[in-house]
């Protein structure tokens, strides 16, 4: 059930991840108002990551089953990246740190926990 590896999909670029803990990296982060998620049926906090956005799984779901997207990556270490990534989490995302990102720019780095779902809204190309 939705257990795909990031490296195994050659034809299709991974577009979403679902996990318990994820690291989020982006040069620009926007917060959106929380909503009651129609599928999860609970309050979720929302973030929009821009400018070299990246999300990586640090802890898998247990049990390892998707809740929103059947094509989502669920394995530890899987990651997605894009121009814009939308992220929802059941816990508020805090403790942003500044990390080295590229030769020219630095980026915001944070850990999202609870239930985390990230999807690429605008891919790089």
């Amino acid at each position: 059930m939705g257990t795909k590896d990031a490296d195994s999909s050659e034809s299709r670029r991974p577009l979403s991840i679902e996990c318990e803990v994820a690291e989020l990296t982006a040069t620009k982060t926007n917060t959106l108002l929380p909503i009651i998620h129609p599928i999860l049926n609970q309050k979720v906090y929302r973030l929009k990551l821009r400018w070299g956005a990246r999300a990586k799984i640090l802890k898998e779901l247990s049990p390892k089953r998707f809740r929103i997207d059947s094509d989502a990556l669920l394995d530890l270490g899987s990651q997605i990246s894009g121009k814009i990534i939308e992220c929802i989490s059941t816990d508020p995302v805090g403790d942003f740190r500044t990390v080295e990102f590229s030769g020219k720019h630095r980026a915001q780095y944070s850990i999202a926990s609870g239930y985390v779902y990230c999807n690429v809204f605008v891919p790089f190309y």
Binding site: T31, L32, L33, P34, I35, I36, P38, K43, Y45, R46, K48, I84, E86, D91, P92, G94, D95, F96, F121
Partner: protein
């Protein structure tokens, strides 16, 4: 004011008109335009028709302003949370007040609102953000966007 007065002054003035033949009260907007008095044209339309057009436009603007105001307020609390001025528990309680309650909007109204918000704010908006403006379901926005681009 007679015709001679108008020709002499050359400017529009408020004319008091007492309806005698109309039983119901009426409300009209009269628009006169042109480059000179010779090619002046006049449009007379009921005020209600103009009001209806602007009312919808203003309603969308008010919704966006209200949503942005909420967003700013929420961002302020979020910054306080990030700086450690309020605890996670406090922030969670505060954020309950900002939770969006989604409502169902008719497709045609949603399409009109989306086209308007795109004109005002540009194309770089996600369905989540548009849904936040009008407090509606994101999936309805995606559907409306598909119909708009089709």
């Amino acid at each position: 004011m007679n015709g001679k007065d108008y020709e002499r002054s050359g400017t529009a003035q408020l004319v008091k008109y007492k309806p005698r033949k109309f039983k119901e009260k009426f409300d009209l907007l009269i628009r006169a335009y042109g480059s000179s008095r010779e090619d002046m044209q006049m449009i007379i339309s009921p005020t209600s028709s103009v009001e209806y057009r602007f009312k919808n436009f203003l309603q969308v603007l008010f919704e966006i302003i209200g949503s942005q105001n909420n967003q700013l307020d929420y961002s302020g609390f979020y910054i306080s949370f990030l700086l450690g001025q309020i605890s996670k528990k406090e922030f969670e309680e505060i954020s309950d007040k900002f939770v969006i309650k989604e409502k169902k909007l008719p497709d045609d109204i949603l399409q009109y609102k989306i086209s308007l918000v795109k004109d005002i704010m540009g194309e770089d908006l996600t369905p989540k953000e548009i849904a936040q403006f009008f407090q509606c379901d994101e999936r309805d926005v995606i559907q409306a966007l598909k119909l708009l681009t089709a």
